[in-house]
Amino acid sequence: MTTHAAAVGRAPMPGMEVYNLKLGMWVFLLSEVMFFTGLIGSYIILRFAHPEHFAQPGVVLNVPLTAFNTFILICSSVTMVKAFAAIEQGDQKGLKRWLLATIALGTLFVGVQVVEYTVLASEGFVPMAEAYHAIGRGNPHDGPALGGPLYGATFYTMTGFHGTHVTIGVLCMWFVLWRASKGAYTAQSYGGVEIMGLYWHFVDLVWIILFTIVYLI
């Protein structure tokens, strides 16, 4: 085949040295970048136009809890690369173990987020403009409202879409685990694990940005 390509008188292959699945996942992730750019851009417009709608960091939102959650997601990225490294060596057991760990951490992340949402909602921090009355963390319920409805709307939209991505990731990970349990991946063929990893790390990457913008600034 190489001789054949040489006969054409040009470099051997026009394509990238990347297999289809991986290329497709990267291309898809580019569109995800734009999706979150749209959300972050909206946040910036709204925040600069109405700074009074946004409370100081840590007043309404629970930063320590979310920092802990960020830590969980970073750990889940490590377990994911461990799963990938395992199958690269043909280690089936390691693959399944690390995948399961990633699923557990991902689920924990979503669980913490649900708890966070519930507490915030009980403190009057909701996306609905008319019902918005955030009193801040641990303040008495008759306190003055902190920030404004744009805060609630942007917060829930941005973190909510990220949470949805994590949830979808966990579901896909169950599928990968099921395939792994049937021995679908080998040291030579592990495309499914690799693109799962790409998606998962991307979701982690988005969280790193969102955590900074939404919670800390």
Partner: protein, 91 residues
């Protein structure tokens, strides 16, 4: 499919450590008593740094062919364009 570098095992745990430390630094830095601008700029630099670490090591971008770099970087100018124009709107 493989390049030599990846077989040498990328420093996964080291990256994890850096990410962890940076997150801690971010959280403390955010509550320091300095002008908001410094906080924002510092935090964004750290966030981008962390994001780059994830992309380069966990997503293996460091070990991929150059063309994939180009592909992966292609939306970034658009991100910059949208955000700059959007910022302009407010000044």
């Amino acid at each position: 499919m493989e390049t030599e570098a990846r077989h040498k095992h990328p420093p996964y745990m080291l990256v994890w450590g850096v990410l962890f430390v940076l997150t801690m630094v971010e959280v403390f830095y955010a509550f320091m008593d300095i002008p908001k601008v410094y906080i924002a700029v510092g935090l964004i630099i750290m966030a981008v740094w962390k994001a780059l670490l994830v992309a380069l090591y966990y997503m293996h971008l460091r070990f991929e062919p150059k063309r994939l770099w180009v592909l992966a970087a292609s939306p970034l100018p658009l991100v910059v364009i949208l955000l700059t124009f959007v910022l302009f709107e407010n000044f």
